[in-house]
Symmetry: C2
Subunit: 400 residues, 2 copies
């Protein structure tokens, strides 16, 4: 199954690194005992040690203690637990207010909506044209009823990095729990749960060439947390189910393989991609901040063209690209993120998300820009959207 496709889409980072599989193999084929057996047998001790090591490596990287990190099945589960299970423990009649942002990823946004349906009050903070939450506005939104603030570290679509140090400080000063979804920043940007005053962090393995089906949740010591799943006593009695030790070992290995050098390389590739597109292709808008964005993300609207048409045509030329976020790229709804930063439906539908990974090269980025430039020109030539302002307006109405 050879595959010459060039991936710059949202799945690019989910390609497993061969070294990760190598690290997992002993725990797939040789030492696969259940780690939770306390009295058991030497194989169980070996797996328990491997699990402890993986946990320690990951925890240390965000300046946490090992026992503050639990393994989950992924970011969606982690965010659901972080939000719903902390609120379940803390909510009382007078403690029923949650604050989040309008551009959170679906696990956070829809967990908040679910709680809203159950009677909680939720403030969805707006963001500015770059996607930034205003810390002053957050502070004003906090009341005596507030129990939890959930603001992402970086955005899933436009890559904007929030000032979580400032947000954490505000939460700490106001004695409110702070959860951040770090799915797209873990190992790409530094996270220090103590410096940043974070109580709960969502971590993902598959965004850094780690295995699918495993994620992490940092839970600060003493943070009240109901059990989300009921079952056995695994993961410090916080997350039952057979512990996925090969997954945990693979997660830690994947994290270890991300280097500062790689992040610098990605930042340079990203800037090269953005610069060339904005310089060479007319009527393009960068979504998100020019610099305060994750190293691996670029998101650009090609005006007067449909994003879906771009990805289809690029696909025929051997390039995998994504429109919108992974979560709704199978719906025709406009991205709530692009709408959140003030974009209209036309801007949302013409946006393409470029995700750079370990396996991308400058040569690939250059070829991508060359091809997309050609595709955009051809699409605009045949598009009713670009044929005069009258038709254009007509079409816009239809879309909205």
């Amino acid at each position: 199954m050879e595959n010459k496709n060039i991936y710059l889409d949202n799945s690019a980072a989910t390609r497993l690194d061969e070294k990760v599989l190598e690290a997992m193999k002993p725990f797939l084929f040789e030492t696969y005992a259940v780690a939770s057996s306390e009295f058991g047998y030497s194989m169980g001790i070996k797996t328990r040690e491997a699990l402890a090591q993986a946990r320690e490596w990951l925890a240390k990287d965000i300046s946490a203690d090992a026992e503050e990190l639990i393994f989950t099945s992924g970011a969606t589960e982690s965010s659901n637990i972080a939000i719903k299970s902390s609120v379940e423990k803390l909510s009382k009649k007078e403690k029923n207010h949650i604050i989040t942002s309008q551009i959170e990823d679906f696990p956070v946004l829809n967990s908040c909506k679910k709680l809203e349906n159950q009677g909680f009050r939720v403030t969805y903070l707006p963001v500015d044209e770059n996607g930034f939450v205003d810390p002053a506005q957050l502070e004003k939104a906090i009341t005596d009823h507030t129990i939890l603030v959930s603001i992402q570290h970086a955005n899933q679509e436009i890559g904007t990095v929030q000032d979580i140090a400032k947000i954490g400080k505000i939460c700490k000063e106001n004695d409110v729990l702070f959860h951040t979804d770090a799915t797209h920043t873990f190992r790409r940007l530094p996270i220090d749960v103590n410096k940043f005053n974070i109580d709960l962090v969502t971590l993902s393995a598959h965004t850094i060439h780690g295995p699918k089906g495993i994620g992490g949740l940092y839970v600060r010591k003493g943070t009240p947390l109901a059990k989300y799943f009921d079952g056995g006593f695994q993961e410090f009695d916080k997350r039952p189910g057979l512990v996925n030790i090969p997954g945990a070992v693979g997660f830690a290995k994947a994290a270890e393989l991300v280097t500062e050098e790689e992040n610098n390389k990605l930042t340079n590739l990203r800037d090269h991609l953005i610069n060339r597109i904005l310089d060479e292709i007319p009527k393009t808008t960068l979504n998100g901040h020019r610099k305060k964005r994750v190293p691996q993300n670029a998101n650009i609207t090609f005006h007067l063209v449909e994003g879906e048409s771009i990805t289809l045509h690029m696909d025929m030329r051997g390039f995998s690209l994504s429109t919108g976020s992974a979560c709704f790229s199978n719906s025709l709804e406009a991205s709530h993120v692009i709408l959140g930063i003030g974009g209209d439906h036309e801007r949302a539908h013409g946006s393409v998300r470029f995700s750079l990974s370990r396996y991308n090269t400058k040569e690939q980025v250059d070829r991508t820009v060359d091809e997309i430039s050609d595709v955009i020109q051809k699409l605009r030539d045949i598009s009713p959207l670009s044929n005069g302002s009258e038709q254009n307006e007509l079409q816009k109405e239809k879309i909205s």
Copy 2:
């Protein structure tokens, strides 16, 4: 990391089959696109097809339609969703009664306890000395308030197989949802959701040499089910989160690799193990039914000896064995299953669970019996439990 250990413990079946990894590899390294991209690109279509194929294979095996099977992170998640999310949708003031058995595995048992704490009424049906639920007793327990019956297909510790056809018929006749935890029976015993009238089934991959971190949940068309996780729209809008396609492909491959021939081999090995132990080692009790048990399980109490001592001594001789269930082998609590079938604490603490897998041979089983026979004799020689009835009674009191 060579490992000459002989595994007959509860992790034996979690050894990944090399063929499973081979089937997963293309989706780890080559075709790793997000499957949910509807409009996207050819790579996404390939992964979507692979996912559909895996789903179809697994669904067909239990006589279900593909769209009735969703992938989860494992059996614990599946049982939590099956029980809590169905009840969430169905519960009203007059519909608040759940029926389960006293010997269910912890995900089911503790989900029911959680609901009980939230105001539901739960009937925990007793079982007979072999672990069987009495269908007549179940029928009597059903009232107009009953919404769900959750009875496992086979027990996690003693392997007893319930008559789920009869149970399903009763549920159907009384218009009550029926969930069964098939973690230990899928592909080892036939399951037909239509013949057996099952509405929800918990499936696991790691119990048949498949990957960890993936499981399945069968949900009969039309069964009301709230979303347990909030997030995106994956898995027919029933289970959000990036779909673990390599995991799904590996799950299907693992299922495919289980053959009738293998199940017959396991049944023979099991019977050979049980016969030899009961014949050759005095004061032993088989836990569970002699024949109506899963092919891969034997559970035997060696009276007057601690199970932990047996596993430790066997471990020193190179054999991995388990006491009790995977879930509480790190606690000193007595198994609720052994207590459930009428055993006392002494019987519970002296029990050893043998789990046979693809990689066990008759020669290994024979060596295991030879060694355990020797271990038991030596332990009994030094045990205060076997030194006269007075001390014995004294010790029993201490334990209980």
